[in-house]
């Protein structure tokens, strides 16, 4: 099964309507999920807030905001992501990222930024404690037992007693276990420092690669590391992340690009051409088993997303390579990921 996701990033948009319009368009195209990037370093609204605002205006598409882990509180972050899962009825994801710049550190009163290696290790710990906190409520913890007067069975709530390198969390979460159990964790694994964290914790890894060979290499490395961490085969799902500029025409690819594949640009691998050629490229890489799907970042959000939906996706659907409707209702179902068992219920950990 081919998986497709698309970014709904926009320059200097902070009203709800434009984001809702893009997400609805993506949902019409049957995309697995939309992403909305975020950082404290440049203008724009809080991404998780925007996708919460989008949630009631959509019904099936997955919603994956970037939430950084460097200057934020792990306890708040996991609660917000869990809540996004509740308000979207099981469609939340979370793209983890770190804040590497001194400018971001100054916004929080620090003088210097830590090294990327350390920040990604911390991001892994945040991913880990988040999952523990999501599991800190067993699914059937709420009992409403009138004879004993008990709203919950407190044996099914658990202190997590997490001790990381730079923080600790007692738990349990204030939010009951979210509908998906664990909202889907996404990591851009292109940079080496992020790859270990992605291999261990990501359900979906993004790889910015201009060539199929490079994407295949990164996936192989991610999968073998994931196996070392004891994860199931086939995890994480790997999506090739491409900038797409479909402004050049409906069919004709720019000579040397499009049909010839993406090329490196300052912003990352860029595909420039027509929507039909892009469909060819997607079908090609996916058919060769190089990746599990694609994450597409439109150069011109509305224009390119319209062309993706009406051109690229329509063609892939016509060939039977991509869904024409959503058989499931949660993001995990779209991605073919099982709802995870609760680590406390399985191991019988004490509260």
């Amino acid at each position: 099964m081919l998986h497709l996701s698309v970014a709904v990033d926009q320059q200097s948009a902070h009203d709800a309507d434009s984001y809702v319009a893009l997400a609805r368009l993506a949902e019409r195209g049957g995309f697995d999920f939309v992403t909305l990037d975020d950082t404290f370093a440049r203008p724009g609204p809080d991404a998780l807030a925007v996708l919460s605002r989008v949630a009631p205006a959509t019904s099936r598409i997955g919603l994956v905001p970037t939430v950084t882990t460097t200057h934020t509180e792990p306890f708040h972050v996991q609660a917000a992501v869990a809540t996004l899962d509740w308000v979207s009825r099981g469609r939340a994801g979370w793209r983890l990222d770190v804040s590497t710049t001194e400018g971001e550190a100054r916004l929080f009163g620090s003088r210097q930024a830590a090294a990327a290696d350390a920040l990604w290790q911390e991001a892994g710990e945040v991913a880990d404690v988040a999952a523990k906190l999501w599991d800190s409520w067993e699914d059937d913890a709420e009992i409403r037992d009138v004879p004993t007067g008990r709203f919950i069975d407190r044996d099914k709530l658990h202190h997590v007693d997490f001790r990381g390198t730079s923080f600790s969390v007692k738990g349990p979460s204030i939010v009951p276990r979210p509908p998906q159990g664990h909202p889907v964790r996404v990591v851009d694994a292109t940079d080496g420092q992020a790859r270990r964290t992605a291999a261990r914790y990501a359900d979906v890894a993004l790889v910015r690669a201009a060539g199929a060979g490079q994407a295949a290499d990164v996936r192989a490395q991610l999968r073998s590391r994931a196996a070392e961490y004891g994860r199931e085969p086939g995890q994480p799902k790997v999506l090739a992340s491409l900038l797409v500029d479909l402004g050049a025409g409906e069919h004709a690819a720019e000579p040397g690009h499009g049909g010839g594949g993406p090329r490196q640009s300052a912003q990352g691998p860029l595909y420039r051409g027509g929507p039909v050629d892009l469909a060819e490229l997607i079908a090609g890489w996916h058919g060769e088993g190089v990746v599990d799907g694609f994450h597409l970042v439109p150069a011109e959000p509305l224009r390119d997303l319209e062309r993706l939906v009406n051109g690229t996706v329509a063609l892939l659907q016509h060939r039977g390579l991509f869904r024409t409707f959503y058989p499931g209702s949660t993001l995990r179902e779209h991605l073919g990921l099982a709802r995870p068992a609760n680590q406390w219920a399985v191991t019988g950990g004490a509260s």
């Binding site: 009203d15 709800a16 917000a80 100054r106």
Partner: protein
Amino acid sequence: MHLAAHFPGVDNTTVWADPDSGSQIEFASFEHLARTAERGLFDFLFLAEGLRLREHKGRIHDLDVVGRPESITVLNALAAVTERLGLAATVDAGFNEPYELARRFATLDHLSGGRAAWNVVTSSDAFTGENFRRGGYLDRAERYPRAAEFLDTARELWDSWTPDGIPRPFAHRGRHFDIAGEFTLPRSPQGHPVVIQAGDSEEGREFAASAADVVLARQRSLEDGRVFYADVKRRLAKYGRAPGDLKIMPGVGVVLGDTAAEAQERAAEIRRQQTSPQTALLTLEQIWGVDLSSYDPDGPLPDIDPVVDPALAHGRTRRGDTVAIAEKWRALSKEKGLSIRETVIEAGGRHFFTGTPEAVARELDEHVRREAADGFVLVPHLIPGGLDEFVDRVVPLLQERGAFRTEYRGTTLRSHLGLPEPGNRR
């Protein structure tokens, strides 16, 4: 008159055992209450916060509703299913940083078209701090000063872009925060989100007078309410503010009936439901400070004296002088011949505005006309339908009396509350 709807959280307000009590976590419940409030032309919906599950005798408290979603995220979603209703979140300044929180509230204000409000609380206790990087370390005396500087800093950030939407660098250097850079959003539709404050203490009142737009107050009798109201309003002049710049809204429960007697009966029943036998014993244990699980809730109060500094409960508001309370409760029990449960209901139970819709409308109106309140935060005992009856039966009567709006005139929460748009201080 201003009205707000409170989605009750994790105390014994909510009668979860009632068959009409729905989910406390699913979005549909929040949507129902928000739509009801907007149908009733309420000023805003209000969400509380708790950052550590409460514990009793070293274990997680299990008798009340436990668990809730994260407030700001829910409000952003509610902005999609409402058009005019204000959206207020309680967020503890003690466990946040100004840059991130100012950004989250500015985002809510942008995405909702000017309907955001922040109920500023400031706790920072060690128990809650165990869930956070920063821990809980603040001296009681430092909490309000830090919250005041936090709010000041947030306002600097909210004002930091030019009116034409160009970011300007900011630098704040104070006792608690030393930050610099650029904010990520232009000034939001309300200028500043509405600021709410719920402290009843001397410091809380002063903080509200200096910096808040709305005070959430305890429910009081008409006379006590008038004293509180006058006390808070007289503090405003010192800060160059007019009496209308700060709205005083007590949290209240309302119980309706077709007759006064029926309403009284329903109110008594709700109080009884809110105080289950187990809850009665637990309430007593909080005051006595010892295990009382062997006592019969339908029997007499304990003969033993309470311990002086009880530490059984974590994550709750302290109950003050427990020895004096115990003495009072024993006297009450003796005088009226009440059991443990009956005593807890009688002494600790909530007071409602109780009566026919006409009587309740008249009483609410009187509190506002006689300057005991500018409005009310209604606290239903059932989710999600607990305010349906009030909106259907009381709001029209308030409108007939000319006491409450018949339509939303403006689009922002500030306009509903009649608050001026804050000037840009830069």
